[in-house]
């Protein structure tokens, strides 16, 4: 069995724990992290958006934003691997988060991902990238609650009911 575990900053512990609990010992596991590249680009290109300004470049000693993002992604994957406690491959990717996750699941049998929205039952318990991934991944899905699952009483009332 080939499994992908989607590691995100907010929910990685739960994903790793549930993957360790549910995946068979012989599963080939990939820990995946996707960094959005548009934010750092937006931050770095700020000066170019100011009309007429040509500020001096940052001092040579300062790491570019991309290097900081890469370093943090690697550190997060290393923490995830340590918590998982089993052999696994770590894969950092960058780009449009939801598309990269789907692409990384090609050829996998199962993906482990976590709810990252509101902590109650219902569609709002999924953020937009997770929702996209859930709807589009070409494999089975293990969907994890980051905290203990909310109680049945948090279910939204039926339509028209007050």
């Amino acid at each position: 069995m080939r499994a992908v575990v989607w590691i995100t900053e907010g929910t990685w512990e739960a994903c790793v724990d549930q993957a360790a609990a549910f995946l068979p010992p012989d599963a080939e596991v990939t820990l995946l992290h996707v960094a959005p590249s548009d934010v750092e680009e937006f931050a770095a290109r700020g000066p170019a958006r100011l009309l007429g300004r040509h500020p001096p470049p940052p001092p040579p000693g300062e790491p570019p934003l991309r290097a900081i993002a890469d370093e943090e992604a690697e550190a997060l994957l290393a923490d995830a691997l340590a918590r998982f406690g089993r052999p696994a491959q770590t894969v950092p990717r960058r780009g449009r988060i939801e598309r990269e996750v789907v692409a990384a699941c090609a050829g996998a049998d199962l993906v482990v991902l976590a709810r990252d929205g509101e902590p109650r039952l219902g569609p709002k318990s999924l953020g937009k990238h997770t929702r996209f991934a859930l709807d589009h991944v070409p494999c089975q899905v293990l969907l994890v609650w980051p905290e203990p699952p909310p109680g049945i009483e948090t279910i939204p009332p039926p339509p028209g009911h007050h």
């Binding site: 900053e9 907010g10 959005p36 590249s37 548009d38 934010v39 750092e40 680009e41 937006f42 931050a43 770095a44 700020g46 000066p47 170019a48 958006r49 100011l50 009309l51 007429g52 300004r53 040509h54 500020p55 001096p56 940052p58 300062e62 934003l65 900081i68 993002a69 943090e72 997060l76 780009g95 449009r96 990252d116 929205g117 509101e118 902590p119 953020g127 937009k128 980051p146």
Partner: protein, 408 residues
């Protein structure tokens, strides 16, 4: 004929500033435009000289502020702010956004929008990334506040600096009138950003890294604080705020032992030439019909509907051609209608650019053409955020300005 030439020169300067071709730098195009206007007699030597006399002090003030902000960077102020934000956030995404809001609002107001965009935003990105927090809300907040938090003081934005010199308002009166509009703009931004990024802001701290106590650059902070006090007292003690900014910049440069070449680079001489030349070009175009065209569009008076209209028109123009040319174009007309209109114009040109990803429609169109294959930047998301904040912030800040004008 002379109208057409003046407008073509203006358009060429703006195209050069937006497209940034290597072979035709914006400052050189604008300066060549001034030479052409002088050679053809469209602009008299006398007219050019009076425009330089009007703009010179503003450009000098701008240079001093740029060097002051650069001195703050050298003193480690922005790194310290990053560490302070990390500490204050306790690693929680929502608290970090609050810290970023506070720091970006104050940095923009005191050290100008340039400092927030160029010096603070990269630090904010790095701070969020190291806290394992999605940097998107924080980086977008910096970008938005660089514009909307630049309402407060004459030094917060080059547009304000131009208006400040043209109206002859005192520093404290400017700040007093703009305090309420500034606070209202911040409130609108906070409410909308908080709601728009609710998914990213939920949850506890993610990083186990212990936040370090920042080493605050007390000397630089004291220089900036003293400069602010000096700005406030400038009318009383009879020293122009530009000199106070220059004094602060000089003290910081000496303390940080900045080599002269680096000081010159920090002052961005090409930008100064561009502002001066663009100002002269707009001056010529204004004399040849642009001013009367603008006067036909801008209503007179300082009633609330008029102020709203002025802010709206200014925001639209800022979105078409960028806020600096928009200010130069509207300012002479607004000045003749009094302080209220000038400040309403500033609300428009300062908040308006948040509507588009890159500050103006012209720039956006250019970037779309130049980077047609660049699919990584999410222009749509930023524009939706702009649509949620800008109309609301424009209307409520202008209302706040109207109230301030009634009371103060």
């Amino acid at each position: 004929m002379s109208e057409a030439v003046a407008l073509i020169v203006l358009a060429a300067s703006l195209v050069a500033a937006i497209a940034r071709p290597r072979w035709a730098p914006d400052w050189a195009v604008a300066a060549a435009g001034v030479a052409l206007l002088l050679a053809t007699g469209i602009l008299s030597l006398h007219g050019a000289r009076s425009a330089v006399n009007e703009l010179g002090p503003t450009v000098g003030f701008l240079a001093a502020l740029l060097v002051l902000a650069d001195g703050c960077r050298r003193a480690g102020m922005f790194d310290a702010l990053g560490a302070a934000m990390a500490l204050g956030s306790r690693g929680r995404p929502a608290r970090l956004l609050a810290m970023v809001f506070l720091v970006a609002a104050v940095t923009t107001a005191v050290l100008s929008l340039d400092a927030t965009v160029v010096l603070l935003t990269p630090i904010v990105f790095a701070t969020a990334a190291r806290l394992r927090v999605n940097p998107r809300p924080d980086v977008y907040a910096c970008s938005h506040l660089a514009n909307s938090a630049s309402l407060l003081l004459p030094v917060s934005n080059l547009t304000n600096l131009l208006a400040f010199q043209a109206t002859g308002l005192s520093f404290t009166r400017f700040g007093g009138l703009m305090l309420l509009p500034w606070l209202v703009a911040l409130l609108v931004e906070w409410l909308v950003l908080r709601r728009s990024f609710a998914d990213d802001l939920r949850g506890p701290a993610r990083s186990t890294r212990v936040a370090e106590r920042p080493e605050l650059p007390w000397f630089a902070l004291a220089v900036v604080a003293l400069a602010l006090v000096g700005f406030g007292l400038s009318a009383l003690i009879g020293i122009a705020p530009a000199w106070i900014a220059a004094g602060g910049a000089l003290v910081l440069v000496l303390r940080e032992r900045v080599p002269p070449a680096e000081i010159a680079r920090a002052a961005q001489p090409t930008f100064l030439v561009f502002v001066l030349a663009l100002g002269i070009v707009v001056h010529a175009a204004s004399q040849h019909g642009l001013s009367s065209a603008v006067a036909d569009v801008i209503p007179h008076g300082t009633t609330l509907p008029v102020l709203l209209a002025v802010a709206g028109i200014s925001a639209v123009l800022a979105n078409l051609v960028n806020n600096l040319p928009a200010t130069l174009i509207i300012l002479p007309v607004a000045v003749s209608s009094g302080t209220g209109q000038v400040l309403a114009m500033l609300v428009g040109v300062n908040i308006g650019p948040n509507l588009t990803y890159v500050g103006s429609l012209a720039t956006l169109l250019w970037r779309r053409i130049a980077h047609a294959h660049d699919q990584e930047t999410d222009v749509g998301e930023f524009t939706r955020l702009g649509l949620r904040t800008v109309p609301l912030a424009l209307a409520s800040s202008t209302l706040a300005l109207w109230l301030a004008l009634q009371v103060l």
